[in-house]
Symmetry: C2
Subunit: 406 residues, 2 copies
């Protein structure tokens, strides 16, 4: 079959269909999470990378990541199976690719030392299998991750449902896994508010796990999405959940930990959200509840504690857009904003009102390079529009008040 793939991929490496097939092949051939492999695919392009790996001519360290799968090609079958399901492969070459949110992973991958463990590596996906009627990029543009324990309490489930319901009412998409407990409560809250929701799976989108949530997944598919890095048919192996968690953090503007025990998976997702420069939030609970210990730890965590949130309004205040989501008093006179370059204005608009964020995150939000951000920040500070909080940049009160008209 390797010979078939090699033959099939012969031709213009920029041909969209060849690239799609190559990426489909790669999602089955390689377990995601290798920064080194991702860099190599970025460098050689998907077609060249797939050809080399299938032809066993890739560097041995990368070839070892593929192993026996180099000799298999189910790419045509996977793409057909997806088509039958109402699913598709979304690749970095597609308009639907959520490039802006996932740029956080690109930046993180560049900063990451080689040899970091695959389950915790911050590396972009090679492609995403997406099932459902909505556009992935549109749904996650204004989205928040709600995560927490599977062994949740009635309190945690109530709060998760309530937050998702409120976020949906405010035009935000809820993103979570498909697990029992907080994940399911969050999706149910969003669904109850009539909103779309995104379930990021650690298995194929044709067999969402757990099976006990079949009706919930059916409901999600009415207007939301099931998303996975793994091709149809893949099983929810244990390590895949850990790898998957980075996507939940990366696709969204911020992560809310609703309930988490000490040293829990939800805390791990939280740390990744922080590493990606996303807003990390946590819900308080009774200090007598073991399921709130992880949340309280995150809110007490040294330099960059999680923001305490108690309602959807609190969450939107932290991740919302100035002018759209946050009350801003309109002013009619011209101000320092009018003098700004396009980049400077975008960086200013990317600065949050409340929590300061580091330049690399501003770059993501403003859609420019970190260097651009560092170039315009001094002028923005001198004009009194932004300020340094000690951990990041945010707009000053004056700029926030005048923001809507700028």
């Amino acid at each position: 079959m390797t010979a078939d793939l090699a033959t099939a991929l012969r031709g213009d490496p920029a041909d969209p269909e060849l690239r799609r097939r190559a990426r489909a092949w790669l999602t089955r051939a390689v377990e995601p999470g290798s920064t080194e492999l991702w860099r190599w695919v970025e460098h050689h392009g998907p077609v060249g990378a797939a050809q080399a790996l299938a032809g066993q001519t890739a560097p041995s360290r990368l070839q070892a990541l593929v192993g026996a799968r180099a000799g298999e090609d189910r790419s045509v079958e996977d793409l057909r199976r997806a088509d039958v399901l109402g699913a598709r492969l979304v690749t970095p070459e597609d308009d639907e690719w959520p490039a802006l949110p996932l740029h956080s992973l690109t930046l993180a991958a560049d900063r990451q030392p080689a040899g970091v463990d695959r389950t915790t590596a911050l590396v972009p996906p090679l492609a995403l299998w997406v099932r459902g009627p909505a556009r992935l990029d549109a749904l996650v543009d204004r989205s928040v991750a709600l995560v927490g324990s599977r062994a949740s309490t009635a309190y945690g489930e109530h709060v998760a449902g309530d937050l998702a319901h409120g976020l949906t009412g405010r035009g935000f998409t809820t993103v979570s896994g498909g697990a029992f407990g907080i994940d399911a409560a969050a999706h149910r809250g969003a669904v109850a508010a009539g909103g779309p929701t995104v379930v990021v799976l650690a298995c194929g989108v044709d067999r969402p796990y757990p099976a006990g949530h079949a009706r919930l997944f059916d409901r999600v598919l009415e207007d939301g999405l099931l998303v996975s890095e793994w091709p149809p048919g893949c099983a929810p192996l244990r390590h895949r959940f850990l790898v998957r968690n980075r996507l939940i953090a990366a696709l969204t503007r911020g992560t809310v930990v609703v309930e988490a025990a000490a040293r829990s998976g939800a805390q791990a997702t939280a740390h990744r959200a922080r590493s990606l420069g996303k807003v990390l939030m946590a819900v308080p609970g009774p200090v007598t509840s073991a399921l709130s210990v992880g949340c309280h730890q995150l809110m007490r965590a040294g330099e960059q504690p999680a923001l305490l949130v108690t309602s959807a309004a609190d969450v939107v205040e932290a991740v919302g857009d100035l002018g759209t989501d946050l009350a801003a008093v309109a002013v009619t006179s011209t101000g320092p904003r009018d003098e700004l370059s396009d980049i400077a204005r975008r960086v200013l608009d990317a600065c949050p009102v409340r929590v300061g964020v580091p330049p690399e995150r501003l770059a993501v939000a403003a859609g420019c390079s970190e260097l651009d951000v560092l170039r315009v920040l001094p002028a923005l500070e001198l004009t009194g529009l932004v300020e340094w909080t000690g951990t990041g940049w945010r707009v000053t009160r004056d700029a926030a008040v005048g923001g809507a008209a700028g």
Copy 2:
């Protein structure tokens, strides 16, 4: 009677007995809370001030604060009544005066604009009526205020009792009011742990309010203290609770708000603790509980949010002393600490491990002037012993680790 007082106070204004009688008279003649009057007493001394007020020769604005009480003198009777009760008047001239903690009020009074409302003014007490066997300065040296709602929940009372119990076990005194709810739960927790506790009253120490807590107050008096700015016999008037609250914040190293509704009295005490440069802490609770809303608001409050605490260990980590309360690895080699001047070393020792504090609070803790603090901080920073957090100064990790041996 005015004539009697004027006669009685004739003599050396530095005579301890004259000063005690003058302060006793002042505590009944003037409702506490006037910054202007406190400054005037500081300037003229208690004897001179009492003579002028009793003789109606004080400036009219100050005379107006005394009104008809200028013509009354029950100072001898008050002091005798206290003596019978096992109580005493503790004045700034006495060794027992908690000068260091109350210095926070002196600093705050100096920064305060004239004409601030008496119920919210940050002004030192003119003297304190103290009942019980313990020494006030010794008890409050290592103390924490636990405050909260009278209409508390079972959860709040459980946590308050638990915190007080744990703080007592760690050698910290619990300070609170005498009210139902969180106040009482805190004192009961401390008492259950066999520790002394301090009740700051808004009425005379002979008639602690509420009467329903008579047995609790009796138990407190076995080894703890009842404290009041008002002389024996005074009633717990409504405004006195507000004036009293500043003392609870000032006497302690930090204030923990256990349960508080939005816009509650406990929040007001919290804001004063913050204004006084004390550590402000709050206990999280269910976001569905109206009695935790105030706590969550404090932890979300802009620039200087309250620190989230879930246990006595968390509280001690925030207010404890390096070396005594906080685990510090002993090192035997000499380090940059050994080169420090006495002032620099005291400022270093005053810097907390975790939360940065502003220079004015360091001055209080180090027992030197703010100018001294500002003089030594640059050198301490250059040596890598302290760092600026964006809102205050704290010791660096290196200095903290080497602290015990310094």
